[in-house]
């Protein structure tokens, strides 16, 4: 399990090069900064089309959108073949490349338990192409392909539960994190980095451009996602040991999270109540398994 860290333990060295291609207030750019600080320079970063395209002081390998899992596999196997198992093989992918188009290859790499580290910066839609829905888009969210009209109330289905799906592959490490809880995030990267086998960390990354809020509020939005139970942060070892790494004493009402974002502006009271019920139910389910063994 990851161990609590203090600010003093956070490496000072910056591995990302600003500005990259990020918008103001980009949660994913912050995720890159935190993640690569901990991974350190002995890393090959693999990129696929995603938003933003981060720039790090490490070698970079690029590839096709759908090929993230296979690309990491090929790199890892080749490093093994040439005797360089010390190098971190890291994929820094978006939610589209993880939940959707890249899912098959990632699932296969997880099943083969390749020694790779997948970091997913989840901003809940295809932000690179202009905010089209992905399977990471939450219920009722407005995107450019789930617009609000007489036949649509926004995204029609729930967000895919990708962390639990990967946990069901019985991989060494699955974690969820938030850019608004940097010490928790860093501790998870640090711990997972030391494990051999397939690791995946899914980071909630608020996106002011797509979610439609003031760019100065990214941390606040991210924090509310965790405090309302919309994005619980936890880790699962070997697909069995489950632990919530942050437990608010009481959940804040989901409306506080929703009302900050333009993508939820159209919601009715009933719809908000429905989302509240879903979040509460899921949170209670996670509380009931906290510290226990999962049984997939």
């Amino acid at each position: 399990m990851s161990e609590r860290m203090t600010m003093r333990q956070v490496p000072l060295e910056e591995l990302t090069i600003t500005p990259g291609s990020a918008c103001q207030g980009c949660g994913a750019a912050l995720a890159a900064r935190l993640v690569f600080k901990v991974l350190g320079p002995n890393t090959i970063r693999h990129g696929i089309p995603c938003c933003p395209d981060s720039v790090t002081r490490t070698p970079r390998a690029g590839g096709v959108f759908e090929g993230g899992g296979a690309m990491l596999t090929g790199t890892w196997r080749a490093l093994k073949a040439i005797g360089r198992e010390d190098v971190n093989v890291v994929g820094f992918f978006g939610d589209g490349g993880t939940y959707d188009i890249g899912f098959q290859g990632l699932s296969a790499a997880a099943e083969r338990n390749e020694n790779i580290f997948v970091v997913c910066k989840d901003n809940e839609a295809y932000m690179n192409t202009g905010n089209q829905r992905s399977s990471a888009t939450p219920l009722y969210a407005r995107t450019t392909t789930t617009s609000i009209g007489v036949r649509s109330r926004g995204e029609p289905t729930r967000k895919k539960n990708i962390p639990m799906i990967f946990a069901a592959h019985h991989v060494p490490y699955v974690g969820t994190a938030s850019v608004s809880y940097p010490l928790d995030l860093i501790a998870k990267v640090k711990y997972a980095k030391g494990l051999r086998g397939f690791k995946i960390l899914i980071i909630n990354c608020p996106c002011p451009t797509g979610w439609r809020y003031d760019p100065s509020k990214t941390i606040e939005v991210g924090r509310l996602a965790v405090q309302t139970g919309v994005w619980p942060i936890y880790e699962i070892l070997d697909g069995r040991k489950f632990r919530l790494t942050y437990k608010p004493r009481e959940l804040k009402p989901i409306s506080e999270y929703l009302k900050m974002q333009g993508r939820f502006r159209h919601l009715t009271e009933d719809e908000i109540a429905e989302l509240q019920a879903m979040a509460t139910e899921e949170w209670n389910r996670l509380l009931s398994i906290d510290g226990k063994e999962l049984n997939f």
Binding site: G69, A70, R112
Partner: protein
């Protein structure tokens, strides 16, 4: 050197072993599947020191070998028909990054299970070198030559070499197996163009989207590299011949009984091996028709066909493919190559063997007879014939 009677797919696996491949990835698809079985056996019983990935689909197999080659491991992938189509997208990238991956394509058409060349033909725009083999010995030897050409500093391009499904893949023929020591002398270890290792990091490695500069330049340099590969292919074929005693024409084409011929027919893969018998019978009957085996489709051997075009009065291309809406790929390429000749010969088109339709010696003799008539100025119908 030892000799063994073996099927084409085993010859491919032995070629991979002799080439000391470090990373191989594959997904089972008929008729390529038994290569994956032979390879996993060679790897798991310790005869080949190689990372073996049983991937979940061909798209991933292509991406895996691409990544492995980039890191610095000699990489191999194989496929057939629909699998070839499925891996199309990353194939562009492998060539774009100038990664010397080698791929065996056990031909299967895209309209069913039976063999034709439509699988690899559908990859013409990806920038891979394409070779078509006619027997199991050539299949084995070509794997070794492919790595030598692909990894040559002047080339650095991926190569796909074809073996006709069923006709070669499951048919046993005597094959000479080169000695490992001699192959090692012929094929030095692979070094990547540039190191991807963190200790060699420099900021130019961080290139993201967009490269700046003239956007046509990557197309042009890659195209010119492909054209430039012709000389290297000939050189490697010649050196292989000196070392192992077997040559495949000049590496690009193989001419059979073309001397004194009034016409030639052109075939690829096993159509060429069947055509050798047909051509013998033609000469026996006093009809002077030669055979040109087109081994290297990409880069296309324009110069060779220009030379042949000056020597004969008609060329009959037997295409085991059709680019629907245009015609046979080989036919178009040959006409294109000879168009500027002062006194150019006629080029006529045959389609044969599509969807696995059997191509017999007699079929090829008819094509040869028709081509000879054209060479002698007789009128023939139809101009495009489906044998």
């Amino acid at each position: 050197m030892v000799s063994e009677v073996m099927v084409g797919n085993k010859a491919i696996a032995l070629g991979v072993k002799l080439s000391r491949v470090k990373v191989a990835a594959a997904f089972p698809v008929t008729p390529q599947t038994t290569i994956t079985q032979y390879l996993s056996e060679l790897i798991f019983n310790g005869e080949l020191d190689c990372e073996w990935v049983n991937a979940e689909g061909e798209l991933s197999t292509q991406v895996i070998v691409q990544a492995a080659s980039r890191v610095g491991a000699r990489a191999f992938v194989c496929t057939s028909g629909p699998g070839q189509l499925y891996m199309h997208h990353p194939m562009h990238r492998t060539a774009d990054e100038r990664l010397p991956v080698v791929m065996a394509v056990v031909h299967r058409g895209v309209k069913g299970m039976q063999p034709d060349h439509s699988d690899l033909m559908s990859q013409l725009f990806t920038g891979w070198i394409q070779w078509y083999c006619e027997n199991n010995q050539e299949v084995l030897d070509t794997c070794i030559m492919a790595y030598r050409v692909a990894e040559d500093e002047r080339v650095r391009l991926p190569i796909a070499y074809g073996s006709d499904g069923y006709i070669l893949s499951y048919t046993a023929e005597p094959v000479e197996i080169p000695d490992q020591d001699e192959v090692d002398e012929f094929l030095p270890p692979y070094k990547p163009n540039r190191s991807l290792m963190p200790e060699d990091y420099d900021p130019s490695m961080t290139r993201g989207w967009g490269r700046g500069g003239d956007p046509q330049v990557p197309w042009r340099t890659q195209h010119e590299a492909l054209l430039g590969a012709k000389e290297v292919i000939k050189e490697v074929n010649e050196e292989f011949g000196r070392k192992f005693g077997r040559r495949y024409g000049n590496g690009l084409i193989d001419e059979y009984r073309c001397e004194g011929a009034e016409a030639v027919i052109v075939g690829m893969g096993t159509i060429a091996s069947t055509a050798r018998v047909a051509i013998d019978r033609m000469w026996d009957a006093g009809e002077p028709v030669g055979l040109v085996k087109l081994k290297c489709l990409l880069p296309f051997p324009d110069e060779d066909f220009q030379r042949i075009g000056r020597e004969v009065r008609a060329i009959g291309m037997i295409d085991r493919n059709v680019c629907m809406g245009i015609g046979g790929v080989g036919f178009g390429c040959i006409r294109n190559a000879i168009y500027d000749l002062e006194d150019r010969p006629k080029v006529i088109q045959f389609h044969a063997g599509l969807g696995g339709k059997e191509v017999r010696v007699g079929d090829i003799m008819k094509a040869a007879e028709k081509t000879l008539k054209v060479a002698r100025g007789e009128r023939v119908e139809p101009l495009v014939e489906w044998i």
